[in-house]
Symmetry: C2
Subunit: 400 residues, 2 copies
Amino acid sequence: MGKTKGNLAVGQSGGPTVVINSSLCGVIQEAISHDEVGEIYGMFRGIDGFLKEQFVDLRRQSPEVVEGLRHTPSAALGTARKRVEAKDQELILKILKARNIRYIAYIGGNDSADTSWKLHQLATQAGYELHVIAVPKTVDNDLCVTDHCPGYPSAARFVAMAVRDTGRDTEAMGPASPVKLVEVMGRNAGWLTAAAALARQEEGDAPHLVYVPERPVSIEQLVADVERCYKEREHVVVAISEGAQESAGKDLGEEYASKEIDAFGHRMKGGVSDFVATLLAGRLGLKVRIDKPNYLQRSLMACVSEVDLDEAYRVGREAVRQAVAGRLEGMVTLVREPGQPYHCAVGIASLEGIANQEKKLPANFMNAAGNWPTQAFLDYARPFVGALEPKYVRLAKYFV
Amino acid sequence: MGKTKGNLAVGQSGGPTVVINSSLCGVIQEAISHDEVGEIYGMFRGIDGFLKEQFVDLRRQSPEVVEGLRHTPSAALGTARKRVEAKDQELILKILKARNIRYIAYIGGNDSADTSWKLHQLATQAGYELHVIAVPKTVDNDLCVTDHCPGYPSAARFVAMAVRDTGRDTEAMGPASPVKLVEVMGRNAGWLTAAAALARQEEGDAPHLVYVPERPVSIEQLVADVERCYKEREHVVVAISEGAQESAGKDLGEEYASKEIDAFGHRMKGGVSDFVATLLAGRLGLKVRIDKPNYLQRSLMACVSEVDLDEAYRVGREAVRQAVAGRLEGMVTLVREPGQPYHCAVGIASLEGIANQEKKLPANFMNAAGNWPTQAFLDYARPFVGALEPKYVRLAKYFV
């Protein structure tokens, strides 16, 4: 290894996804192919493990295990939510130097881009040559510049499949329990909730209403929307963001959630769907059922998008290529090529415009009423979410 | 159609499953093949539709739609939870005669077996020749006589996959949020919750604890179990039945659930996982996260068991064969053949010993501590749930 320039450290950060290990696999396999890269260190639980010098030797892993990462969901290295603080800087620099770490690939979302950016600034100030490349990952899809974020297509596919299938359940149950709420992740961004609309294959299919944080909805509108849909077909399936808003900055049911104290003296978290269920039952006298798939949205491998698996792998590889080629800082991006069929190339962008930014669902991706995504959104998301096949059937209503 | 003996009515009842339409497909395709069968009526929303004479003409459906039922989850005819009452009897008999219905295939669980049994008794008393065959269906797996119930293998597969994958998520998050509760359906029976144990592929895999209603667990034991598992590996994944018991007949957290009144004056349902999460957070100071996949357990087609799809189809066909061959009443059963590879033949049993009976998880399917299913259970369930492939990997913990 005469050409070795230094060692590489890779970490995973934030909430896991079904494809974050596919990115890790890409990083490892690409790193192995470059003589410039010496040791390949895996940070055990992200930057937290880095600071504790808990490094897993990734060169010693069997090729089967490395390849197996591509179909293993969640973060194999463990993950962290820690942000780098000023007091950590000295220690980081010391570890970088002691271990001769010259390349860092950090897989994560907004906070991770911030961490990567700070590592870059720190090294620059100290005159230490370090190549830090962030690898995008988040089911929230809220990173700037990139067309979309690896992890989002699979979570979106889960949401679309879940809404489609639980929607059929609601339809079958009929007036006995006609309202179903599906509470979807995404914090302040409505990307994942909007993906519920991909469930609809024909007129009348679930979901019937979609509410995202970017478009606040008054309690009066929500009740009126559900009532109208119920009158149309005797059942209503609603996809609602965990961060749905009543007005800008005010969570739906905020007062309600904060008032309740549980038996142990803790404030009840409640969740928006519990509030809305109680609201609808009270106002419309309808039985409401809730699906809150929580962590399954980001972990259920059975709903993985093949496009996502492949893209996650490619952004991992690209991070190492960029670092070895001399790029000092950046985040790998997905760049959609014009025309059909769908393809995203990989690109690179400076972390400066990405770290701590949040990309919300743009205005033209939701309809005027704020209760349904537009065709523009569907056209954006469908190619990487993939078709939901085979198409389901319905019996023709020939009554005799 | 010179040999026609009468018309057939088929209905779906109770909670839908991903394979109940596969049974419906079997009924229709078999019925079409018998000259004895005239019209094929689909009851719109089960016995409820029967009483309202809302029948869908199933002979007029295109063969593609009928075949498409095999991969369409939930109940295409709509379902009902209504039980037949004494006051309905006269009307039922009138409709049977007016429509010359001589064959009934009724797809459902315990309540549906009861309905089928009542229809049989009613017809017998009136001297009206009627062949009523129940087709088993329930994710709860609590019907007697049959080896297992169609619908259960797929729901069990969902639970196993969900626990496996959300378990990886919990493992990756580490001590920051180390406890995950997965609340599983099944009412008073622990069959579906026990299936969570199929998620474990190697030592240390989730789940780490499994609680079923048949084996009450004291609050003290539960806290001690979780604490012990946490000390072993810094994270704990618990599968817990929605009907988990503190002592025989007493739901876990019963007093808690019934005390709380929500903002609209309704009693809070709460659910066992909310109670247990608050309990563990309070007693152990650990962050607890909950997955409550609710209706996805019985509807998510992505987790279907191929064995289940096939068996559901075959029990549907067999119901019609039995009826046409002259059987007056019964439920189609799955009869496991000895030896390997796994195969279930179809059989038939009288409804008398099935209607309103409930098959609980037998004692030898749970360990002495009541917190983990035995090998006997795993051997019972694995063949029809199917292997979880490909096997996930873990990085070897070579620290450097």
